[in-house]
């Protein structure tokens, strides 16, 4: 049982308050869908949650400890997929994932090729990723969810560029993760098609 | 034949080192190029055959998937 909680979080960009006094807790088996119009601050919030950006005030707690104090543990339990894919155009899909896995300290024996096959990239594993289509690059980025056993997933618009079959695949994976006591925090402008209950957090666009 | 004997031929009037160095390295370079061309051709043939095999594998995996979908 792990939990991510946030208290009194606020974010200011260029003298503009994006949100303030945010409080919530996400526990194992829960999914939090952060909603809001373009520019509301969803991405900014996610980046604060994972520790890429600093909040103006307030804290992010992982199992009741500030994430800055337990970076190692937290990093081991986290997968973050942002707007940027982190897929190098000159390396092949398989290489991209291989280096990512090693960097994350995963055992050598994860079968990257099997995962790529499952994601419909048969035969494209060794092509430089720059030559893949937008959706195929996105699939490589998402393959990380298959590769690393982590309890917290933070996903920024994961359905971008995916076709309907890939969306189905990802949705199934997310449901399975939630069943296995995982936590998911995501943003998406598309409606989620999950049978699992979904909590939502609405951010507003303030000027 | 300009030379009286083989040893004279190899000596090249005292310039043997330079003459044979020049000719030797040139010969080596040409042979190297020929070998490299040959190797490159072999490499191409290998990739073509590998590619054929890969195609077969892909076909197999797809037909499996189609079956899976039907089931």
């Amino acid at each position: 049982m792990s939990c991510l909680s946030v208290n009194n979080l606020s974010c200011v960009k260029r003298d503009r308050v994006l949100f303030e006094g945010l409080d919530f807790t996400v526990q194992s088996g829960q999914l939090l869908h952060i909603q809001g119009p373009n520019g509301a601050g969803k991405t900014s919030l996610l980046r604060i949650l994972v520790g890429l950006a600093e909040s103006e005030s307030g804290q992010v707690l992982w199992d009741q400890q500030r994430i800055q104090d337990v970076t190692q543990d937290f990093a081991g339990q986290l997968i973050y997929c942002g707007h940027k894919y982190a897929v190098n155009h000159h390396l092949s899909g398989a290489e991209n994932l291989k280096y990512w896995c090693r960097m994350q300290g995963l055992a050598e024996d994860v079968d990257i090729f099997a995962v790529l096959d499952e994601l419909g990239l048969v035969g494209l594993e060794t092509l430089p990723a720059g030559q893949l289509s937008a959706g195929q690059q996105r699939r490589i980025a998402l393959a990380r969810l298959w590769l690393k056993p982590a309890s917290l997933w933070v996903l920024d618009e994961p359905f971008t560029a995916l076709d309907s079959s890939a969306i189905r695949l990802l949705s199934e994976k997310m449901e399975q993760h939630l069943k296995n006591e995982g936590l998911i925090i995501l943003t998406s402008h598309q409606p989620l098609a999950l049978s699992h209950p979904v909590r939502t957090l609405q951010l507003e666009y303030r000027l | 034949m300009q030379f009286e004997s083989w040893s004279e031929f190899w000596a090249m009037g005292g310039y043997g080192f330079f003459v044979w160095l020049a000719f030797g390295v040139s010969l080596l370079a040409l042979i190297g190029l020929i070998l490299q061309s040959r190797l490159a051709r072999k490499q191409v043939l290998r990739t073509i055959l590998q590619e054929q095999q890969r195609q077969k594998r892909i076909q197999a995996s797809r037909s499996k998937q189609v079956k899976g979908n039907k089931a």
Partner: protein, 250 residues
């Protein structure tokens, strides 16, 4: 010439033409080159000034002349490829460049090995030497550019552009010899350059030039074939050819 060239734009036809040319080219190259070299090394008279070191001429001059000739051939192929959108022509650029580079290397090396006994140094920053070095780098640039592209179709076109841009350099290099030498120290090569060369020295030289030209052509054609196969890996004829060559080899 257009009608003549065009059928060979089809890659399979081009491959067959090469297959027919290749044996003739290689056999005549070996015979002529061997004759010329042996004649030059054993039977041609020694130079009255340079003695036997002059025999380096039989490899130096052919390779030097051909290093430039091959570049022109490559540039023509590039031009054809770019103007008339012939894929096979850009493949030829990729096939020819390494051959030219090796010839240039040979010219440089033999020149240096000749320079040591004649000028007392392996290397000076003389116009002709420098220009030959630049030629080597032009070749290497074309090759490196081609290799850098994952998509060989793009790579072929890019290498073609590079080869053509480099061509502007050829005459410049050639003429700069005069300007540079008149302004810096005197010419080094003219010391040797006798206006006429004895026929018994000239004949083997001509043979060597012809032989090396044929050898370059043979190698280029062979590499061109490989390039064709690599670029059209999925075509049925390539697969058939690959199976055939593979079973021949085994």
């Amino acid at each position: 010439m257009w009608k003549w060239l065009h059928p060979y734009a089809k890659s399979e036809k081009a491959f067959e033409l090469c297959a027919r040319l290749l044996p003739w080219l290689s056999i005549s190259a070996i015979v002529i080159l061997a004759t010329g070299t042996l004649w030059g090394l054993m039977f041609a008279p020694a130079d009255y000034q340079q003695g036997d070191s002059f025999r380096i001429i039989y490899i130096h001059v052919p390779s030097a002349i051909l290093s430039m000739g091959v570049y022109s051939a490559m540039a023509v192929a590039a031009l054809v490829g770019l103007v008339w959108q012939l894929r096979t022509a850009t493949m030829a650029v990729a096939a020819i460049a390494p051959v030219g580079a090796v010839l240039t290397f040979i010219a440089l090396f033999t020149g240096a090995a000749w320079g040591k006994p004649m000028w007392g140094t392996w290397w000076v920053w003389d116009a002709r030497l420098t220009s030959e070095l630049i030629l080597l780098f032009l070749y290497l640039g074309v090759m490196a550019l081609y290799q850098s592209f994952d998509d060989k179709q793009q790579g072929g076109k890019a290498a073609g552009v590079m080869a053509l841009v480099g061509v502007v350099n050829l005459p410049i290099i050639h003429f700069s010899v005069e300007w540079w030498n008149t302004l810096h120290q005197g010419a080094t090569i003219t010391k040797f350059g006798k206006p006429s060369i004895a026929p018994e020295m000239l004949w083997p030289l001509l043979l060597c030039i012809l032989g090396l030209a044929l050898a370059s052509a043979a190698l280029s054609v062979y590499r061109f074939q490989s390039e064709l196969m690599r670029r059209e890996i999925h075509r049925p004829w390539v697969q058939a050819q690959a199976r055939k060559e593979h079973s021949d080899a085994v």
